[in-house]
Structure formats: C-alpha cells, structure tokens
Symmetry: C2
Subunit: 483 residues, 2 copies
Amino acid sequence: MLTYDLEQRGNSTIYEYLYRCIKQDILDGTLAADGRLPSKRKFAKHHQVSLKTVENTYEQLLTEGYIYSEEKRGYFVSPLETDTGSKQARHQNHVPFSVHGSDALSPAPSPSLSDSKSTGFFADFTSNQTASEKFPYDAWAKLIRSILSQGDNNLLQAVPFEGLYDLRVSIAKYLYGFRGMQVSPDQIVIGAGAEYLCGQLISLLGRGRIYALEDPGYRKTAEIYRINGASCEYIRVDENGLCPELLRESPASVVHVSPGHHFPTGSIMPVARRQALLEWAEEDADRYIIEDDYDSEFRFSLRPIPAIQSLRHNHRVIYVNTFSKTLTPAIQIGYMVLPRKLAERYLSAMKGCSCTVSALEQYALAAFMDNGYFERHIHRMKKYYKAKRNCMLGVLERSPLYSHVTVEEKDAGSHFLLHLDTPLSDTELKWLARENGVRLDCLSEYYAGDKAQRAHTIIVNYSDLEEAAFRRALEVLLLAVSE
Amino acid sequence: MLTYDLEQRGNSTIYEYLYRCIKQDILDGTLAADGRLPSKRKFAKHHQVSLKTVENTYEQLLTEGYIYSEEKRGYFVSPLETDTGSKQARHQNHVPFSVHGSDALSPAPSPSLSDSKSTGFFADFTSNQTASEKFPYDAWAKLIRSILSQGDNNLLQAVPFEGLYDLRVSIAKYLYGFRGMQVSPDQIVIGAGAEYLCGQLISLLGRGRIYALEDPGYRKTAEIYRINGASCEYIRVDENGLCPELLRESPASVVHVSPGHHFPTGSIMPVARRQALLEWAEEDADRYIIEDDYDSEFRFSLRPIPAIQSLRHNHRVIYVNTFSKTLTPAIQIGYMVLPRKLAERYLSAMKGCSCTVSALEQYALAAFMDNGYFERHIHRMKKYYKAKRNCMLGVLERSPLYSHVTVEEKDAGSHFLLHLDTPLSDTELKWLARENGVRLDCLSEYYAGDKAQRAHTIIVNYSDLEEAAFRRALEVLLLAVSE
C-alpha cells in the first residue's frame, strides 16, 4: 500500500501533503504510468485520515491530469512526460479529443454587434465586470489614507521602470503561497495592466516572429497582438486547451495560452499537455510560452491548478496576470514574471522608460497584499462567484428552457456555456435576443477559423448579472426554441 | 501710426490684447512683410500704455518669429506663410542657419555610460527629476482623501479607454486658457504617460511608414520608436528647431517635433517654421505632425509660445503632453489631442482596450486642475526654476571656470548648455568628470548623425542640482581645461 509519513508534513495540511507526495511520485516515476492507485477508502483508512481528505486529494490530481479514473475500476496514474527534454513516445491525457486544423494567420474576429455600448439591455451576458460592491473599498481607502499621511518623499519619486520593489516582493510571496511559483522579485515587472505588458513583451520578443494564439480565444488578446503589429497564427483549442501537436506544425515561436482557465470554453489544461508545451519550447532555442493566468484565482474547488511557470524546465515561460479582474477594473495594475535571462534583457532594453503605474497605488497594493486583504478578498470572491453560479444554475433548472439546453461548466471563473436547441443561426439568435433586450455573445464568434463549429452555444458571464434579469432573459431565449 | 482700440480688449490684459492684434494683422497681411513697426516708445505713448507693456508685446512677437529686429533700425514684420495651402515663395525666418544633411535611418544613440545608476556621484547633470519637494503634496493628498471619502461607486468602475470625461474636460479648459488651443474633450485621450501614448500613436498610424525624429533629440523619444518597431529617420535640428526642407527631402510621413522647447539644444521654433511644417503636412493626404509639448509650461518669460496645434490648418497635428514633468514623475498621466477624424479612428481601433490610468488619480487630477492648484503650481515652479537658473548662472560667473565657457540658454526649461574650452574629447571629458564624481552628458551624444558636431558642450540639467554640488562640479571641470 502506498504509504506516506504524515509526520513529515511540516506546516502543510494533510491534503496538501498527500497531494504533493503522490504528484512527486508520479513525476519521478515511482508510481508507474497506468498503475492503479489504492481506493480512496482504503488509502484513508491506511493513513488514518478522513475519507473527505483523500477524496479532495484525488480530485485535485484528477483535475490536473496527474491521474485518471475509470468507471467502477478506480484511479490510475496518467502516462506523463517526466523529462521535457526527452523525445520518448508520449501519450496524450486520457480524455479523448479531436484534432482540427489551424487557420494560419486568420484575421482576428472582427468587431461585431455585441461590441456596441450595452445601453438598452436589461440583461448583458457579455459583461465580465467584477462585482464592484464586493471590493473591500474601506480597507483600500484606509491604506491609501495611511500611506498619504506618512508624507513619504518616496511617493513623489519616479518608481523604477520594472515597478516598486516592495510590491514585487509582495507579489513574489503571493505567487509562492498560492501558485507554487518560486520567483525572485527581480523577475517581476509591473505595468499598467496585462494588455500593456503584452505589448511590451511583443516589443521585447520581436515583431519578426509569429505568435500562436488560442482559437477560440479571448478577443482582447488577439486585439492586443493586432494593435502591436505582431503576426499571429491561431491554434485550435479543444476540451483540454490548446493542442500542442498543432502548435508544433505551425511556424510560431511564441505561444500565448491560458491553461488555468480558458475563455470562452472554460477548459483547464491537464498537466500532460502543459508538459508537452514545455517540451515544445525546449525544442528550439528561442521559443517562449506566455502563460496568461487571468482569472485563475477564481477556481471554486480545491487548490488552484499549478501554473506552467511552477513546473520544471520553466525557463521559457513568461507568466502574466492582472489585478484588474481580482480587485477592480478601476485599478490598472498587471504584472509578469520573466525567466531570469529575459528579465535582464528586458530591463536593459527598456532602460530609461518610465513605470506606467503610479507610486501611490503600488504602495497601496503592496500593503493590501502584505496585510492579508488580498487573500481574504480572493477567498470571499470565490465564495461569492460560486454562490452566484449556483443561483444562476438554479434559475436555469427551474426555467422551462432547461429541457432545451445543455450547460458546460468547469467549476471555475465567472461564466458558463449554454448550448441551446434552436433552429436559428447564431446571428439570428443574437438579433432575437438583442431585440428583446438581451445582449449576448455566441461561442462561434470567438473562433478565428471555422465559425460554424460549436454553433448555438451562448456564453453566460454572470459576474455582473442579476438573478431576476437572468430569469427574464431565459424567457427571451425560449422564443428561439419554440420558433 | 498703428492703432488698436484698447476698449475692445474685454477681459484680456493690455499686453495680451496688443500681442493678439499685431499677430492677427501680420497673419492676415494687414501688416506687410518687412514693414517697420513703430518704435516701442512711440507705440506706448500713442496708446498711453507703459513702455514695459509694449516691450513685452514686441518681445513675445520676436520670440515667436512674427517680427524681427535689426540693430539700431527697429522692428520689422517677418515674411510669413499666411495660408498653409498656398505654394507661394516663402522666406525662412530671419535668423540665419546652416543646413545639414540628415542621416537616413541612423540607429538611435546607443546606451552609454551615463545611463548607469547615478550612485556615487556628488553632482548629476543628467537628472531632470522634478524638484519633488515643490509638489503641493498636501493639496494633492487632501483631494485624494476627499475623493475617497465620497465613496463613489464610480471609483470602482472601469474608466473609458480614452480616459475619464471629467479630466478630459479639465484638460480642454487648461489648453484653451494656457495654450490657446480650442479642443473638444472628445479629441483628448489619457494614458499612462507620454511614452505609452506615443506607442499607441505608432500602432494607430502604422509601422509601415517612416517617422522623422529630431537630431539631436530627446533620447527617450528615439527609444520609444525603436521599442515600438517603427522605422525612423533623423532630421537635423538647428537653432530654430527641425529643418522643414530636410524633412521634405525625407520619405517620412510623420514628424515628431518639440517646437515649444527642444531638448537638448533649447531652441524654440519660430512661427514661420511651424507654418512650414503645417504646409508640409498638407502636401500629402496622410502626413501628421506629432507636437511633443513636454516642458513647454516652464518658459520663464512672457506667455508660452502658441502650440502648432493652435494654428490654423491644424487637422494634421497630434499634440502630446504629460503631467509627469509638471507635477511629479510618481504620477504617470499623459494626454494627447487628436484631430477629430483620427480621434474617431483611434477609439474605434482600440475599442475593448482598457484605460491605463487608475480612476482615483484621474479624479484627483481633474479636481486639482479645476480648483486652480495646477495653474498655481506651474506658476510657482516657473519662478522656482528661474531663480534656480539664475543662481546656477551666478555660481558659474563667480567660478574660475567662467572664462573657459560659453553658456547657451534660451530662457526656458530646466537645463542649459555649457560649451567648454577643452582639449579633451567628449568621451575623455565624461570619464574625467565621472572619475571625480560628476555625472554628465555631452550634447554630441544626442546626435544620431555627425557626432563630432557641437563637441565639448555639456548639458546641465539643474532641476535636481544643488548649488554647492554645482560649485564643486565646476572645480572638477576646471581639470579638463587646465590639462
């Protein structure tokens, strides 16, 4: 029987410790591929821990793709790439997926109806605005007041281009505690939002190369690449995220991925695929992975999925995230973690440029993180979004529309997908909704390539959606079904 | 005798009114080119105003190039281009200047010694840091506290991409009152500093074209263009600023100029040349002038020079400025004024992007401007810099070095040029200074083309320089002379 010494767990919880031990044994081959794990019940009894603890542990390993389950047979170790440098035959994760061709250099989705101002809609499924009333405004205001009253002369000095050192330390601590990333503050760069930082990355890595973007994908990302004059190629995303084999077939040397929580499909990339991406990056001297971790904080269950940046062989991974989603869009602070060499190159290339974030808000954010406000806020928001999600799904289940829809939901983020049984085209569906006061986007709009794919699938962003409005909106959608 | 009805001057001062009347008469041809103006004394007596008022009026017109003076003969109307569309023969301004060839696509000056951290220097001539203790910190902090305590929900909402409307209104009012620019808030875009906005402009205007930059010029500007992947050509700057004939010979379709106060030469572009630039822009459908008005607020004497943007035929002028220099570098807020059509194109192209400046500081800056703090601060800083400049020049005059230098100073900004009678090369001069604790840049370093030009000329930024440190630094420079 698989045995771990719980006495060795230090300050970790039992769950964390068991998760880490099993993961490590899988990664270093102690647990062989396709080997069966003990049943949850036996494992719990053997270690004299609660069944719930083991369930959580297995669940987390399952979500991350380290293990797979077979009905009535139990849990098995996934065949993983344990050395990203090696070229041995590699299995994909157990979940079957189909491979689609990528459309080289397809244009970004063109602006559509849905981009117009949201006036006149009683329900807006497209708004992913953070619930601003949840932001701990009083704490934030108190910190700013306190910093102002220190009257520190530093508040009037230019901040270093890469950002305030104090804030970079706070971010490094946070990343260590919550994302399992061991990074030095020297690798961190702060800027006025993730969009700005992406533009900087394109300048740093060069406009002469091809950037691979997810298809479907977050529209703003494609916009940022377009605005910054970068050439892009779209790579198909399936239920496990971006397909590494298609990436390998493309001429791209940088890939921009959101493995933690893909928008709009909601898919979470299993660890095997994360490793396949790392392997791809290793194959050529100048390849990079831009890991866009936007929204990863809001996974409802268990621990967040470890970042690609936290895996081994991460010296080609650039990690990007923002506080605009977790805190409020009124605070434009993003950050990125660069591999050490790239960080040095960046600072030398951008020397003489100015930091785009004001000193006051950098000091405030550092204090906000150091005093635990950020952590508590994330925790509260996860609960809030989870409750909101459950409430929305409840409204849906009680609605007459329920028998005409399929919900796709991945326990994360602040949106789900609604597949509607309708004879209408997506354009007709959008117009019908629009004329009846509902603003929505269809999944097909987020495809750069074959837009006919995944038709009749509505994206429901619920972070800014009221229950009553959602109920009324479902009545509108019923028109699309009965017509 | 030239006569203006002082009763018609409304709320203007006599000086402003006379300045405007004479300027208008010159522009519309009422006062013919090369015609003589009445003597200052006669003009003052005739209008029953003080001699000082007329002296100020003539001085301003002279600085802007509307009139010229000949020793012992008096003042004359400059031959100007009165309609930028016409192609009639055109005289250059009366000040003679030599024409140098431009170096097509020369690289930007490479980073040099002087870019390293300024630790270990007792005097740093390269720092143009604003005197931070002069910033009205208490007023700023009070405004921020007051905005925070309103607890307005707007503080947590995303600001429109182009910036907070209130702040754009405040900027439009300021530009009208202080720069004679009539612009709508809809033409104004706010962003995290002028550097960021320049990057946005390059995205908007396109990377396929060639941008003309000043040679010599502000290093950061060249850096920004390089970082953003734009192709640049350097155009020679003489004592009247960038040479329009050389611009016309180049393939550039956008020119980035600082007519208000050129760094590092300090030159101010006379109105004839400003008009020549406008004419150049009119000659082709897709040409633009980016008017970088950085530092223009700190002209010591009289009114600031009117912006190119405020002249007629300004629909190809993009005006860019920042608050980082006027307030504090810790506040990264810049703005630009776009011609109406371009503003529409910009907003449509960048739709979906986020504003890079936090809501709180935009509200604070709007209140700071609306309550007159900004205006009073500028006024105080002008006095402060003028006193500092006079103090520095006094130190220089009393120093043994004085007989070995020539000072070039244009009554503006926060730096002057010091031409040193030395056998050393500029590199040797820099090293000598460096080894003795003085950090300095030479004018020659700012040339992309012929660097041998203007050798032995030191740039003295005095905004951050202490009197005693300057005195000691001059002793160091004496070593260069006596060697």
